[in-house]
Subunit: 205 residues, 4 copies
Amino acid sequence: MNKVRLENFSDGVFAIAVTLLILSVRIPDAKNYDNHELNYALRRAVPHLITFAFSFMVVGVFWVAHHRIFSMAKKVDNGLLWLNVFYLLFVAIMPYPTALLAENPFLTTGILVYSTALFIIAFMHFLLLNHIYANKRVRSEVFTAEIYQSYLRIGAVGPVCYILAAGGSFISPYISFFFIFAALVFYIFFSRSTKVEEKLLMKAE
Amino acid sequence: MNKVRLENFSDGVFAIAVTLLILSVRIPDAKNYDNHELNYALRRAVPHLITFAFSFMVVGVFWVAHHRIFSMAKKVDNGLLWLNVFYLLFVAIMPYPTALLAENPFLTTGILVYSTALFIIAFMHFLLLNHIYANKRVRSEVFTAEIYQSYLRIGAVGPVCYILAAGGSFISPYISFFFIFAALVFYIFFSRSTKVEEKLLMKAE
Amino acid sequence: MNKVRLENFSDGVFAIAVTLLILSVRIPDAKNYDNHELNYALRRAVPHLITFAFSFMVVGVFWVAHHRIFSMAKKVDNGLLWLNVFYLLFVAIMPYPTALLAENPFLTTGILVYSTALFIIAFMHFLLLNHIYANKRVRSEVFTAEIYQSYLRIGAVGPVCYILAAGGSFISPYISFFFIFAALVFYIFFSRSTKVEEKLLMKAE
Amino acid sequence: MNKVRLENFSDGVFAIAVTLLILSVRIPDAKNYDNHELNYALRRAVPHLITFAFSFMVVGVFWVAHHRIFSMAKKVDNGLLWLNVFYLLFVAIMPYPTALLAENPFLTTGILVYSTALFIIAFMHFLLLNHIYANKRVRSEVFTAEIYQSYLRIGAVGPVCYILAAGGSFISPYISFFFIFAALVFYIFFSRSTKVEEKLLMKAE
């Protein structure tokens, strides 16, 4: 299996999953609304729109992570191929927990399902990374022990936050929202590639 | 992050968002219609079809703008990466305001939401362009101050029209339609790349 | 605008439009069906499935035509860019007339809308081809007058069939089905590229 | 028709079809659920989620098979082109039998339709492979009789399992599930490319 083709297919699944999220925001379906009724219907759609925007950025974070991980592989073996297909299964499932959370933003079960989905995807990043690192035929030359350690440290933030979010859902939804949001902010603003990695990646490109 | 991959992913989101717009045109769902009833149902679908066609062309304009902007970058840094993911969020959201407008074409709220969505996307073009211009490591050599000025001038037409459309929606829907339509016509027929740019772009290709 | 990118985006819209067609085949939504009821529901879905399969092949024919046409261009100018965006609008609209026809396979209006959509797309192939041929900066060197004539001849079969189908719908749906089906069979089995073209295309590749 | 473009288009259809599968998992649509009701609704969604996950992996297997088959072609002729479009029709149809099975997991008809869809796709792999092998202008140099035999042997497992699954559905759904699942496990874990092929493929890349 060609590596470029695998990445293209993965990008396709990411792009579609992320765009399908909008379908979870239901359009108020009564026609002949007056303006007042439409305003009211839109106010009711606000949690949906927030959940959509939030999930979009989360899947965006996963997409970036997926690329960083695959930039460390020089080849795709059978194990990595099927691990990746299995990984994409959970990416493609995201519209479901997103819709569930949008419909029931303050129920324990909705938050629990959503956090668990994020946890599984984040955990599979670790499996993918590990598979690449452990197989000499797959691992790129730039993928040193130093980078592996740094990726593990950065990659651990997500799963830890999502577990805390899942656990917190039994106490208060706001605890869950805090941890899920914290992971998002961390990955967007604080996980910039370190200078060491950048130099190595530059060589690889 | 590889620039080609970022563009491919963006193209994917654009292609999916633009094609999902058709899902906002509901199929009349009664079976056993006679021909007369079907004609009547189709007449009721006309505003939906017009909104679809219109939104398709608007997103097409955004897609072309996105490409022109990214042709001015030689690299993608972290800031541009996340700015672009955030930008795509609003591209992916388009099926929602489109469906909203199609259902309620003459209500202030529907038009206001639609114009605001267009304004945000058009404004983010400016943020993307600015980020590229302001960062030496990101900016392509062909991206001169002259081109920057010309892009700013062309890029300002959209946001101004969309703000006027949003404001006009409180007076009459037709004012809004006029300004949104004017921006579309401007970008398709009057914003052809100037000769200076063309020469520079040709070098870059 | 880069030609490869335009083709990739077009391919994306084609791939999505063609796959969305399946959404027009409604899943019988009663649960707790027994086997007899499910059989009955499936029998009622047969016209939907036939319309899906048929439209899939028709859009496949359009996709092949689009590629043949663009293989004759060496560059994309502004006119070709926007003509192509407008063309893709009608490709993206296909799930709508397909669903309409599937719901009402024997009504004049459904067939008329469907035939008209096919006619517009087929006619726009002619506009695209003509734009490429008429502009020296756009036209590839292999695009000789001989090939142009041959493309026009092949390309005329579709629009003629679709007009006859539209007209025939006022007499009998079977006349329409015959002509639409005839065009499909012609393009799949009888429009193989002639030897002259093949030689020229081979050089271009 | 360019081979790379055909593969990209096919990858697009695969990626979209596989991601649309999630739309067959209906979101419980009552709002104002309490947690208990949501739990109950989720338990009812379990067969849908299992069917989704399963179909995702099955389409993943088909995608890998499609790539292996096309890696044996050096060119695309007219026959291969249309055979592939027809093949993609059945890939794109997959969300329908998947939804049907998810709604009625223990009814003979649902299982029969699902198994038949898998059988047709698996059988078309054989047609594609055969067309490539039989046409000297299409066949890649690395595609030896030895590889052809090995592909036929591996490729036969699927159709045989799916026929047994279809037949078994008249006795017990569990027999069908067993055979469909067996084919999936076989392709993921036991059909790794043999060493001979790998060496040949490596040369081709």
